[in-house]
């Protein structure tokens, strides 16, 4: 098949960016989206042009590295997959695709499709953990966890931290990301002791990083490659309010 790609090219944070158009001809519909970029990059390099920079690693939808808007949608049109798991057979022969980086104040562009997502690390650092030193843990089965709680914790913990939720949100809010971590630990007995300071510290850090507010568009859930549910945002809000009241 043949595809036309309009790709955002930007050499560095300081320089202005622009769209460049590339033709991809005779490509197999069995390629993944990132393999398409590999093919285009091969061609660019043959012609002495800089390849498109993009983050990627596992190429199976779990590391959260790959991140790009495809035709205005985070990770492209298929639900519940990351860009690396998106296959070209879902596109029409001859189609034109626009590929851009995540756009958010808290995710500054580094180069081409690569953005700086270290704000997420700083949010986790603010409190997204259980304080237990190595070697001080009780026997694992001494703290039973009801199966439904463990399952729900896992539903939230499945977040891969890719940032699609932020990119898809009209306000560039990070609520789904923060909600996923807060809810994961809030559902488990191990997470109770620090539940209040955790939610306060994480939300405070989120605000400091310049993410926007949640105004219930729910674009985040639709874009999330792991389909993390917006019900966790409600959980986050409840926990936050409770923690504020007791402060």
């Amino acid at each position: 098949m043949r595809l036309t790609l309009r790709v955002w090219r930007q050499k560095s944070a300081k320089e202005p960016g622009r769209f460049e158009t590339y033709e991809a001809k005779d490509i197999s519909p069995d390629l993944s989206f990132l393999e398409l970029l590999d093919v285009v990059n091969d061609g660019l390099q043959q012609r002495g042009l800089d390849p498109i920079a993009f983050d990627h690693d596992c190429r199976e939808g779990i590391c959260g590295s790959c991140a790009m808007m495809i035709n205005g949608e985070a990770h492209g049109p298929q639900p519940a997959v990351a860009a690396c798991q998106l296959y070209l057979r879902h596109f029409k022969d001859g189609e034109t695709l626009t590929i851009e980086p995540w756009r958010a104040r808290a995710f500054p562009i580094i180069r081409d499709l690569i953005v700086d997502r270290s704000a997420f690390d700083r949010i986790i650092q603010a409190g997204g953990y259980v304080s237990v030193d190595t070697g001080s843990a009780p026997e694992a089965n001494s703290v039973p966890v009801p199966k439904p709680d463990a399952e729900e914790a896992m539903d939230a913990a499945a977040c891969i931290g890719c940032g699609a939720c932020v990119a898809a949100c009209p306000n560039a809010s990070a609520m789904l990301f923060v909600a996923a971590k807060v809810s994961h630990l809030a559902k488990l007995p191990q997470g109770q002791a620090e539940r209040k300071p955790r939610v306060l510290n994480m939300v405070e850090q989120m605000d400091r990083e310049g993410f926007g507010n949640c105004t219930n568009h729910y674009e985040c859930m639709a874009a999330c490659p792991k389909s993390i549910h917006v019900k966790f945002i409600a959980q986050l809000n409840r926990d936050y309010l409770k923690a504020c009241r007791r402060r």
């Binding site: 993944s32 596992c58 798991q85 913990a157």
Partner: protein, 637 residues
């Protein structure tokens, strides 16, 4: 030279406990003046960084990804082993130890493996306390399943995302120490050399992958947790960024490399589909619990699977290994698949595939049960192949997956250069010639949480902290070498991409040093690798400059190292004139095609010492003794 692994004296079950007590601890007030560099933030690195910081050390942790949480460990699916014996099916430390020694085909160190089995239970306690959402039974207790090559249920899991959840636990523990001011994480930073001065490890040289700046970091000890090297085959189940650079550079500085030819080919991956394919996706081994593997009995049978009657199918694993059947260990299952494909009985494009059939399981258990157990895997399979595995059998084929070989370490996980510790998949570790499923996560966390923090402290006790001093001329010299190499890569300005060379190397390694190896093939590869290497240095194209984010340059450096390291793998494979575990030499097999070990000649760890460019490396041996489990032929029949 005979290498001394420094195994503590005493009976096997008491060694670690006695040794642990004898290791010197550091007072936190002293520890805080010591700086430890931890390279890699996978399970091994993140757990080590967190624990070292808890004990008071100042830790600098590095990874090449944009976040520590994205290390390749994140991709592990199936689970992690421990000898808890919760299902009461007769498991014990002793049994986990035995399974691991036998699974590794008697090429690992008894004392290390015993310690690993001993520590396994504490890992589960630690991870559960961190909030890892392990699968649970209805009574709220932890659930277990069985996993490739063993008959007890000892595998703990978190859906199909065990590696992700364990890594997030370790990453979070590390981020807690970042907040405490004891860990600094350097993402998008790549180690390109090790600094050794006066025979000791002093630091590393790194490149900032965003600015391109090359600088040196000094440390009182360096912990390498940089993962495995299966991407030497180009296509593998590993993440694209996995590489051997850190370990290989340490090797060039004097760290011995052990058993590089011990690589694992995983039997259940989605077969290769086309030229631009960048990755071979693993289909979890758990599928073998319910799927039946077969090929047509007849060569070149192109009928769709549904039209091949039962009598004309060959369920070759069930036929050859009636006791383990479809659950035979990885090396055996992989080789058997290759054998039937080599006979011309493979299925799918190019005849490089075998069927993994769920029809019987669906009939017996119902589609709903199968969907519950493997739904996400079936979805993934459909997404990649556009085929429905409920309607027709999956096609699978073996793919490079794991490196049992790695830098040689003693019982304290210290390499041959004092102050250099190596943990996780990067060391040659505990898996001998073949690793059992769900044991890599266990080993990475045993090393990182429970062993290295103690042995690093012991090494540092009584030494004068360097306090970040990088004044020794060895630092400037190493940095200049890295700069020079970077400049050379950029100066070639040839016509072929880095990936093209990587693909050539990968194909050669797969053909001649993959699932089966022969003296003739290895000799050919040893002649061909230098040719590819020369062509690379004459004709590779790396555009752009060194002082910017340049992914082609990053890849070029890694492939350049693979082009040297591949020779070491082939040399090791050629020297080991026996078959064991994942290392199968066609000249050494039994009448029915099983691996034939030669304990009289090869019951040792082969540790290679770099002797200079163009010089053959020097072989050192660490003899292996089997006192607790007598040497025997592995049998899964």
């Amino acid at each position: 030279m005979i290498l001394d692994p420094k195994i503590p004296p005493g009976p096997l079950p008491d060694k670690w406990e006695a040794h642990r007590k004898a290791l010197k601890a550091l007072d936190p007030s002293v520890a805080q003046r010591c700086r430890v560099l931890v390279v890699g933030t996978g399970l091994a690195g993140a757990s080590a960084a967190a624990t070292l910081a808890e004990r008071g050390f100042q830790v600098e942790a590095l990874c090449f990804q944009d976040s520590a949480r994205r290390a390749h460990s994140i991709a592990a699916q199936g689970g992690i082993n421990a000898a808890k014996n919760y299902p009461k099916d007769g498991d014990s430390i002793e049994r986990l130890f035995q399974d691991t020694i036998k699974g590794g085909d008697f090429r690992s160190r008894e004392a290390n493996v015993y310690r690993l089995a001993e520590i396994s239970n504490a890992i589960i306690d630690q991870c559960a306390a961190q909030g890892v959402p392990f699968a649970r039974e209805y009574d709220g207790h932890l659930a277990n399943r069985s996993f490739g090559g063993v008959k007890v249920r000892r595998t703990f899991y978190a859906r199909g995302q065990t590696g992700q959840q364990l890594l997030l636990g370790a990453y979070q523990a590390m981020m807690r120490q970042v907040k405490a001011g004891r860990v600094r994480v350097h993402p998008r930073t790549e180690m390109l050399d090790l600094v050794v001065a006066d025979g000791e490890t002093r630091g590393i040289v790194v490149r900032d992958l965003v600015t391109g700046e090359i600088h040196a970091l000094s440390g009182d000890a360096v912990v390498l947790a940089t993962g495995g090297y299966s991407t030497v085959y180009h296509l593998s189940t590993n993440a694209k960024g996995c590489n051997v650079t850190a370990a290989y550079r340490a090797y060039r500085r004097g760290a011995h490399f052990a058993n590089p030819c011990f690589t694992q080919i995983h039997p259940t991956c989605i077969p290769l589909a086309g030229r631009y394919q960048s990755k071979l996706t693993l289909m979890s081994e758990s599928l073998r619990n319910d799927g039946r593997i077969w090929v047509p009995k007849q060569k070149g049978d192109t009928r769709p699977p549904s039209q091949i009657p039962e009598a004309e199918r060959d369920y070759y694993l069930e036929r050859r290994y009636p006791s383990y059947g479809n659950l035979a260990p990885r090396d055996i299952a992989s080789r058997a698949a290759k054998a039937v494909c080599d006979e011309g009985r493979g299925v799918g494009p190019g005849g490089q595939g075998v069927y993994l059939d769920f029809a019987d399981a669906v009939r017996k258990l119902g589609r709903k049960t199968i969907q519950e157990r493997y739904g996400n895997l079936f979805d993934m399979y459909r997404e990649i192949t556009d085929e429905d595995a409920y309607a027709a059998p999956m096609r699978i084929y073996p793919a490079p997956h794991y490196a049992m070989g790695g830098l040689w370490v003693d019982y304290n996980l210290m390499g041959t250069i004092p102050g250099l510790f190596v943990i996780g998949e990067a060391n040659f570790s505990d898996h001998g010639a073949n690793r059992l499923g769900a044991s890599a996560l266990m080993q990475g966390l045993a090393d990182g949480y429970f062993i290295a923090p103690l042995t690093v402290a012991d090494y540092l006790s009584g030494r004068k902290p360097q306090r970040g001093d990088a004044a020794h001329p060895a630092f400037a010299a190493a940095r200049r070498e890295v700069e020079e190499r970077t400049r050379r890569l950029l100066a070639v300005r040839g016509k072929r991409t880095v990936d093209a060379f990587h693909r050539d190397l990968g194909k050669l390694m797969w053909d001649d040093c993959g699932m089966s190896r022969s003296a003739a093939g290895l000799t050919r590869a040893l002649a061909e690798i230098p040719r590819i290497r020369d062509a690379f240095w004459k004709d590779v194209t790396v555009l752009g400059g060194g002082e910017e984010l340049n992914q082609a340059l990053e890849r070029a450096g890694r492939v350049a190292d693979f082009l040297e390291f591949a020779e070491l793998i082939c040399r090791d494979a050629l020297h080991r004139e026996e078959s064991c575990g994942g290392h199968f030499r066609v000249e050494h097999q039994t009448a029915d095609g099983e691996a034939k070990r030669d304990d009289a000649r090869f019951c040792y760890v082969a540790a290679w010492q770099f002797a200079g460019d163009g010089q053959p490396p020097v072989l050192h041996r660490e003899p292996l003794a089997f006192d607790a489990i007598p040497l025997s032929e592995r049998s899964y029949k």
